[in-house]
Amino acid sequence: MQVNQPIEAVEFPRLDVFIPELIVLITAFVIFTLDLILSSPMKRRILPIITATGYSLSLATVILLNKLKGDTFYKSFTADHLGTVVKTFEILIALTVIVFAQKYYSSRNSFYGEFYYILSFTLAGAMILSSSYNLIVIYVALELVSIGFYILTALLRNSFISKEGAFKYLILGGLSVALASYGAVFMYIYAGSLDLREILSYKGEDQHYLILGLVLFLIGFAIKIGAVPFHFWLPDAYQGAPTPVTALMASVGKLAFFIPIVRIMPLLREEFSDVWIITVGIIAAITMIYGNMVALVQKDIKRLLAYSSIAHSGYILAGIAVTEVIGLKAVVYFLVVYTIMAAGSFFVIALLERMGNWKNLLQDLSGMRFNLPFLALSFMIYMFALLGVPPTVGFVGKTLVFMALSFDKLWWLAIVMIISTGISTGYYVRIVVLMYMKDKEKEFSLKGTNPLEIISLTFLTLLTVGLAVMPELILNLINSASESLFLR
């Protein structure tokens, strides 16, 4: 935009592609207002229902309007198939978070009305982050998601570690945003534009600024997704946060933070692909190895799953290193199914944490099949999915990434992936052994489960198996999404 350009009539933006985000934002503002005027017992009953209604409406519009494509708001917001796939899963997981949050917070005596509208703003931020190429919009949406997560992490009464995790997350998250926007400066001075498509297709004479900008941008996002040299905040934030929020961070957060990198990948020109493969490949390799090695020695279940989440960032980054359409397909599939596995496993822990004598230690799991057979079964399925055992989505995701790596002849990365999966067997199988082959040490009983919680958990477990047995349910959408990104 030139400074002295005469301004013509402002064009009215296309709103039809923005309806799902708009609904979530309106929901957030409605809850914000109701939270101020309602009495406390009313809030407990009404706020979750309104939030869930808003999200369901938004989910319906995402699915109904899935054919719509195009830019709006002067190219700062782009609706496409990738956005549709990602948003469907983001809203779905957020809906289940509401179900599990209600009883969890009341068992911890920390019901806050704030939870519902900050959750909604976070979801809106994640949805906008999933469908934008403009650096300003990416920055604002990134901050919207991150600030929401800082607050949600700290919202737990009588828990010091939740504040500690929130502070560490805030400092590292702020640093990551600063690095990413510093990268944006260099991309801006290279191309004179803030649109990622224009920046990466611009052919300037001095490409140092572009490379510096891309590297800083990538480091910023690597902090957010917990890739290894920059992962220090992640286990603390995941352990400290209330468990439904941990589920949200591991699923919706990870999905949203990955999408800008996923969108950059098809836009890269040939001459950068070597640099990209080396940088992303090395980060992916050390992330996989380190995450799985450290998870082996953990004693706290939430912390163990946090390190497993780091390791999965590595698997997904390995797919991103392949700058071909097959890599993009594998990455998008793995990303969306990882949200189900991660959210489901943290939801099981959220249910278990409601029991009085539960300490979140690994020994507490021993003999779980006697006390809580249903939870033990679903937790076992999630563990097998995270490990990558055949009839689950984790297996299909890892196979797709492996096929992409072998297609691009990245054998070293494929071998690292196999070795680290082998290492991860150590802790996933140990959990299953504890639950199914050990005698019980303590008596646990889960009282007052909401039927909705059981239904949601069953649904997620069925998805974990179903999307692997019938991957064409989402693979067709993912194929068309990936191919349309590469056509540009």
């Binding site: 920055y139 700290a154 500690e164 702020g174 600063a178 926007s181 400066v185 801006y188 912390r303």
Partner: protein, 102 residues
Amino acid sequence: MKTIPVEAYFAVSTALFVLGLLGMIVRRNLVTVLMSLELALNAVNVAFVGADYHMGLVEGQIFALFIIALAAAEAAVGLGIIIAIFRYRLVDSTDEITDMRG
């Protein structure tokens, strides 16, 4: 007339950014760490406005305005968390909030 080259703006902003980064690593006081974070974000603003002046565009300044607004929001949340930590345990140093390890 001799104008200031764009590299000069970048030198100032890099210096500010490194100062902020060092402050985050070296300093122990919680509020000082937060201030260092703000310094790093403001370094980005200097770079954006300098780049804009160099190229004669305005989009970078729009970005800088957004950074100012959102950095303030982040500082508000950060101060809130620091107050929550302080009310819970009366500590204000990063060495004393290390309950979680491993």
